[in-house]
Symmetry: C3
Subunit: 447 residues, 3 copies
C-alpha cells in the first residue's frame, strides 16, 4: 500500500545526497485552510475553539483563525463577538475599538456594530443623513457566532445556513473530573500536529524518557476506522505481568483524545482511565496552529498535582515549551518534531510504513470529505455519531495478563488490543452514565 | 454619490462573515509611489521635506524617500548632497562614505562625487588612466537638489528640467511664532495619513478625550475645493454661547494645516488663530510614510509650553508615540487608526458616506492630475496659487454667537462655516502683512 | 575593454538622479549557488570547508551550504556525517536527532541512519515488517562525505562519481607556522566577498588606516592569470628606500591567500613572507556566505600575538566584526563595503575600470567553466596545478630598492612586480621543501 517507485540506482549510492532532491511539495489539499481553499472550506463546516475565555478582558483581541484576521470581544452586556478585523467604513482595525453596552465601537469615526454584524449607530452623520441610512441598509460587518463552554470560546466560521449543532462528548462531563482549558501554539501547519494523535509509534520514541519506562516500549499497535470520521490508534504494551492498552482517538476534522500522560505507567491495573486532554488542533493560518484543550485531572484523568501550566505543556507535548535550543535538541518533544519539519512539511518526500497507517487513513478520509463538499454532498458531523452525548474511546486500560510460556507474546498483545476495543465499541448503546460502568465491568472480566 | 451596489442577500444575514470577503485591493493608483508609478511620477514634480537638518551630523545617512534608497550628507564646505545609495563603480553603499571638503568619498576605492553627481576623483587609477578618463566622461552618480529651510531639508526628486520654484506659504513667517521641526514616522501608506486632514468627523471621535470637550462635539461640517489643488474641511461646533470654526487644509500633493491642538477649546473668542503644524505627509515607500512639519508655538499658534517632543507627538497624532499595546487599545490615536488598516489599506472595501466627501474629493483630484501628467499636461504648482507668498487657511475662529431660540442651531452653524470661509477666501488679494489683520477685523465684525 | 555605452544626455546633467535607474540586476550566472543552478553545479565539483571541527560537540548542527539545509554530526565512533535535514520517513528534522554509536537516530520514530545515508534501523516496525524491509531497500538519506583537516571540516556536495582528490597546498604545512581555524560570516552573496581578493586597489583605500601607512599607498598593480584557475593581483608600493610587493591569490573556485596583515609595513626587508590566511569563501545561500580559513601565525606569517579572535577578525576584514553602526560608518571594513552592496549586488550597474581587471578576469573564467560543465567537459581541479603538494604565491616581499633619480619610479615598481612574480612562477618545479629556500635566495639576489 505504501509502495515507493524503485529509486534510480544513483539515488541509492553511498553519499548520494547530490542525486536526491532534499525538498518536496506539501500536500496542499490538506495544508491550505484559508477562505475558499479545498480543506479550508471543509473546516468551515465545524465549530472550533478559538480562545481561552478567562484571558479575554474588557478590550478586543486581534486573533487569526483559518487564515482570517478577526477581532474577538465581549460587550458590556456579556455577548461575545467575533468579527472581521476592519471597519467596513474606512477600514480602521476594530482591535482599537471600544466594547459598548451593546456591540463594539470603531475608534476612528465611532460606528457601532452588534455582535451579529448589524450597524447600530453612525454618530458622525446627521440624524437625517441619507448616506448613513444607506449604509445601514446596504452593508454589514462580517461576523461569526461564538459560544463559551467550560472556559473555552468556540466559533463557527462557515455559512450561516449550514451551522451545525454544537457536539457534546461524553468526556465533557465526567464525575469528579477537573477540566482546565489551555492553549499551546505551534509554528507549523495543523496537519503536522494532527498526525501525531493517530501515530502510536512516535510515543515510544519521542516520549520514551518523558513519562515512564512503559511509554518507551514499542508494543503492538492497531488502527480502527469507524463511522466515517472516527480514527483510533491503539498500542498494547507488555509491562511485567500486565498488558497496557492505550487508545488514541481522532474525530474529524480535529477533535483528539488519548490515554493519560501521568496517571499510569502500566504497572498497576486500570480500567478505562480517560484522556489526558480533550483537545482540538486548530489552524491559525497555514504556517501556524494551536492546540486548544482541557487538561483532565482527577481519579479517571491525570493526577491533580499536574493541573499546572507546566503540567499542561507536558501533557500537550511531552516537555515544557520554553527551553533553550540545546535543551530542545537533547530532549525533543512534539514541538521539536513537528516544527522541525518546517512551517509546512513537504509531504511529497515522505515514505510511509506500516506504523503510519493511521496517518494515511485519516488524511485520505479528509480529502474524500473535501471532495464530497465540492460535489455538494452533506458532510458527516460529530453529532451524527450518536443521539445526544457522543461516546468516545480515548483511554488507558491495564490488565493483569502474564506472558504465556512458549507462546508469542505479540499475539497476546494483538488479541488484547482487539478485545479491549471490542468492549469499547459494543458499549455505545448503553445510556449515558451507565456506559462507563458497563465498560469497566467488562474490562475487569478480561483482566 | 457614494452609492453602493445592493448586497447579495446572504451578505446581509446575521453572522454573515463567511459570505463577505474580508480583504480587498488597495487603490494602487494612489498608493504606489516608487519610480515610474502613476502617483510616484506625480509626486516627483514637487519639493518634499526629507530630514531634520539638526539631526544630520558629519556622517552620511541612509534614507528612503518615494521608494528610493538614497544617501544624504553634508560635505565639509556645507553643501547638502542627496545621492543614489550605491557607488556607480562597484556598488559599495555611500552610507559608509566620508564627507570631504567637496563631496563624498566612497569607502571602497576612494572615488569622490560632488553633490550634483559629478565624479571629482578616481584616486585608484594612475593620472593618465584612460579608463578613469572614460568613467568621468560617461557616468555620473544619481543626485537630487536639496535645500534647507528653517531646520527642515527639502529635496526634489523629479526631472531637472521640470524643477519647480520652492513655494513660500504665509505660515512660514508669522510674527512671534516659534517653529520647531519634527518628524513622526508611520508604518503605513501615505494616503492613510493624508486622508485624516480632510476628515473633520474623525476629530470628534478619535480625539474626543485628548484635547478638550469641544473636540468631542460633532458640529456641522463643510468641504471646499478651490484653485484645483486646495481642499478645506471645516467644522463648526457649538460650545455654550460660542461657535468654534476649525479649518483644516490640504494643498496638493501633501501640504497640510489645521487649527490649533491646545490653544483653544471653543470657550474663549479667537480670531484666525493659526495651525498647530505646517506639515507634509511624505511617502518613504509604499508601506511607510513620515509627517515632516514645524510645530507652531506662540500667541497665534499653540502655547509655548507644548514646544516639547511630547507636545509635538500630541499635535501630530493626539497621543504620544511610544505606548504599550494595551494603552494604544485603550486610548487610540491617529497612528492606531491608520496603521491598524494594515501597511496598505484595501480601499476597495471602503464604504464612504457624506462625512467622507473631503477624502473622496482630493483623491479624485490626485488621480486626475496623475492622468494629466501622463498626457503631458503641466501640473498645477502651489506657486500658482498666488504671486509671492501663498495665503493659507488652516485656522481656528471662535465667535460669540448664542443659540437662537426656536431656530435650528444646525442652520446657524452651517451659516457660520460659510461666513468665515467667505472672509478667508475674499482676503487673498490683500498684500502680505495686512491680510491677517484684514481677516481678523472682518471676523470680529461677525462675532 | 571596459567601455560603457554613451549615456543619454539627460543622464549626465547635474542632479540627474531622476533619469538614472538606481537598481539593476545581479549577474545571476555567478550569484546563484543552489542545486541545479549554473554556478551551483560548478561549485559542487569541489571540496569546501563547512564548519570548525572544535565547535561541533556531541549534538547535531543544522547548517546551510550552497543553499541546502543540512545536518552535520559526529557519531560516537567519531565518524562525521553531513546529511539532508529531514528524515526521509516523516520529515522530522535530524537536528533533533541523537548521535549513536553508529550514525544518527531520528527523534520522531527512532530510525537510524549511517553517515553515508544507509538506513541502519527502523525500530518502530516489527522485525518481520515488510514495509520496513522495503524502506531499507528503496530509500536512503541524502548524505555527503566529510573530512577533517587541521580543525576545519570539509565536505563535497557533488555527484559521488566525480568526487575529486582533496587538494593539499604548500601553505598547509610550513615549518613553525601556527594555523588557527576561523569563520567569519557575511550577509551577502559570495561573489561580493570573493571579488576583494583580486582587487589590490581597495586595500589602499578601505584599509589605509587599519594596518600601516604603507597599506594606504596606491603603488603599481599588476594582474596575472595562470594555469586556467589561478589569478594573482600584485601591488608594488614605494616605502622610503624599499619596494614592498604584496601578492594576492585566488585559485578557483574559491581558495584565497594574500600577504600578511600585521607582519610587515614595508619598512623592513622581507623575502616571501606568507599569507595572513589560507581561506575559502563559501556560499551559505545566495544572500549569505562565510569565510572559512586558518589564520597563519609565526615567523613567516603574522605575529603570534594576533592569534586571537580579534586578530583573526582584523585579518579577515580589517576591523572587528561587532561594532555600532556609527563606528562602522566612521571606520568601514570589508564587511561594510560588501554587505553595503545589498544581499546580492546589482552587477548590471557596475562600471569597471583598469584596477578591476582581476575581478573581470576571474568572473569571466568562472562563467566559462560553468559553460564547459554544461557541455560535459571536465573541470580543472586545483590538483591539476601540480603533482603532490600545490605551490602557491600569496606572499609579501620587501626589497631595498631606492628610487632612482631622474627615473619614473612607476616604471621601477612595475618592473619589480614582474621580477618578483617571475621568480615565484619559475620555482614551481623545485621539490617540496626546497622551493621556499630557492625563492628566498633568488629574491635576496634582487634586493
Amino acid at each position: 500500500m505504501f509502495e515507493y517507485e524503485l529509486p534510480d540506482k544513483k539515488n541509492f549510492d553511498s553519499f548520494c545526497g547530490y542525486h536526491q532532491t532534499w525538498q518536496g511539495q506539501p500536500d496542499s489539499d490538506l495544508t491550505q485552510t484559508g477562505p475558499g481553499t479545498f480543506c479550508g472550506e471543509y473546516l468551515r463546516r465545524y465549530w472550533h475553539p478559538i480562545f481561552i475565555a478567562g484571558e479575554l478582558a474588557d478590550r478586543p483581541r486581534l486573533i487569526k483563525i483559518l487564515g482570517e484576521e478577526l477581532v474577538l470581544f465581549r460587550d458590556q452586556s456579556g455577548q461575545y463577538g467575533l468579527v472581521h478585523k476592519k471597519c467596513p467604513h474606512r477600514r480602521a482595525s476594530l482591535e482599537f475599538g471600544r466594547c459598548e453596552k451593546q456591540g463594539i465601537r470603531c475608534c476612528y469615526h465611532g460606528w457601532v456594530f452588534d455582535v451579529d454584524g448589524t450597524i447600530l449607530d453612525i454618530p458622525g452623520e446627521p440624524e437625517d443623513s441619507k448616506s448613513a441610512f444607506n449604509a445601514k441598509a446596504n452593508i454589514r460587518l462580517g461576523a461569526y457566532p461564538v459560544r463559551e463552554y467550560k472556559g473555552l470560546l468556540f466559533a463557527y466560521l462557515g455559512p450561516p445556513s449550514e451551522r451545525p449543532a454544537f457536539p457534546m462528548y461524553d468526556t465533557f462531563d465526567i464525575e469528579g473530573m477537573t477540566m482546565t482549558p489551555y492553549m499551546v501554539p505551534f509554528k507549523c501547519n495543523w496537519i503536522q500536529v494532527l498526525d501525531a494523535i493517530v501515530d502510536p509509534v512516535h510515543t515510544a520514541f519521542l516520549h520514551q524518557s518523558q513519562f515512564s519506562d512503559g511509554f518507551g516500549k514499542m508494543g503492538e499497535i492497531a488502527f480502527y476506522e469507524r463511522q466515517k470520521i472516527r480514527f483510533l490508534g491503539t498500542a498494547s504494551r507488555r509491562v511485567a505481568d500486565n498488558v497496557w492498552v492505550r487508545v488514541n482517538e481522532l474525530i474529524l476534522p480535529n477533535f483528539t483524545q488519548s490515554g493519560a500522560a501521568f496517571a499510569t505507567d502500566g504497572t498497576t491495573v486500570r480500567f478505562f482511565g480517560r484522556s489526558a486532554f480533550t483537545r482540538w488542533v486548530v489552524p491559525i493560518d497555514d504556517e501556524h496552529c494551536a492546540a486548544y484543550a482541557w487538561g483532565n485531572f482527577g481519579e479517571r484523568g491525570d493526577p491533580l498535582e499536574w493541573n499546572t501550566l507546566e503540567g499542561m505543556q507536558m501533557i500537550e507535548q511531552g516537555e515544557v515549551v520554553e527551553r533553550s535550543y540545546e535543551e530542545r535538541q537533547r530532549r525533543p518533544g512534539d514541538i521539536e518534531a513537528v516544527e522541525g519539519m518546517g512551517a509546512i512539511s513537504d509531504h511529497e518526500k515522505e515514505y510511509l510504513v506500516a506504523g503510519d497507517r493511521g496517518v494515511a487513513m485519516y488524511r485520505r478520509q479528509i480529502k474524500k470529505l473535501c471532495r464530497n463538499l465540492r460535489k455538494g454532498r452533506r458532510l458527516p458531523q460529530p453529532t451524527d455519531l450518536a443521539e445526544g452525548i457522543i461516546p468516545t474511546y480515548g483511554s488507558d486500560t491495564v490488565l493483569l495478563r502474564p506472558q504465556v510460556p512458549d507462546q508469542d507474546d505479540r499475539t497476546l498483545l494483538q488479541t488484547t488490543n482487539d478485545q479491549v476495543m471490542d468492549i469499547l465499541f459494543s458499549s455505545d448503546d448503553f445510556a449515558d452514565g451507565s456506559r462507563d460502568d458497563h465498560i469497566i465491568n467488562r474490562l475487569k472480566g478480561l483482566g
